[in-house]
Symmetry: C2
Amino acid sequence: MVRWEPDAYGRLRDAALSLFVEQGFEKTTVAQIAERAGLNRRTFFHHFADKREVVFAGQLASDDLIATEIRAQPPGTDPLHAAVAGLMLASDTLYEQYREGAIQLGAVIAASPELQEREMVKRATLADTIAAALRDRGTSEAGATVSGWAAVAMFFVARNRWNQPGNQRPLSDLIDEAHKEFLTA
Amino acid sequence: MVRWEPDAYGRLRDAALSLFVEQGFEKTTVAQIAERAGLNRRTFFHHFADKREVVFAGQLASDDLIATEIRAQPPGTDPLHAAVAGLMLASDTLYEQYREGAIQLGAVIAASPELQEREMVKRATLADTIAAALRDRGTSEAGATVSGWAAVAMFFVARNRWNQPGNQRPLSDLIDEAHKEFLTA
């Protein structure tokens, strides 16, 4: 029986992130994460399939929000603009308040080839999500797939700039900027 | 001492592909690949770091050719057109003659999550190669990165169409078509 714990998910995520930062992703065990969160392994596996999933926690919620926003764009909005609108909303709603955590997480991923490989798969999932939402709006197969990947690339260019020390600009501004740089390149 | 064997590379690649098709990637060992090619394990490791690399053999040569062609595009050519020109040349030069092998390889990758993850990393390498060549031509950072990923997406959309049973059109035509679909989406 899994005992109910107030905000077990958030406590496990915070404990995992602090351990990954202190001693690296590879050296951290699920037992250590649970112990630091004051919970047991069973509660961990109730919330996460494995320790890699903690790193990418929240992406599913973010992907859903992006897809919903894309589908809600006015008819006639071109696919890249629709995709960018979805990414900007998710940035304001889900990312902006976690900038410090996102910077730490970025460093953890950069230090682990296993996590980098996993992040590429997560990017592909996001590109597929965007492309599916665009196809629902009537965009052609190739147009939707290519727009999905282009939008994901804009998002990651912007996130790299947002993560820089000293940056004061919100992520959504930087996505808009990357989009404009692409259109005028 | 590695004995010189005529076209050991090609024999190993063909042996690996036929074994992957027959019994799957996961069940195939390096020893089996070497045996079928009439060579030893040592010769295998002289040519390939591991059995995953056999699947992606040739990508480095292809990436080099694409980058060289992009750099050779006339000044003023927009980044996406320059990237597409590089992909079309590589398709005509390196891919067209191996369509049967590419179809078989596509099925092997589709059956293996490990290879799919690896293919995503290879796509990122190609996107980075294209972006670096575009930056050398003066394209902005964001413009080059986003164009790199958009071009890679066009390439994979086109390759999926090229791999369909009954397709008669060359890969480079299908890349051109995907590019036009994106521009008019």
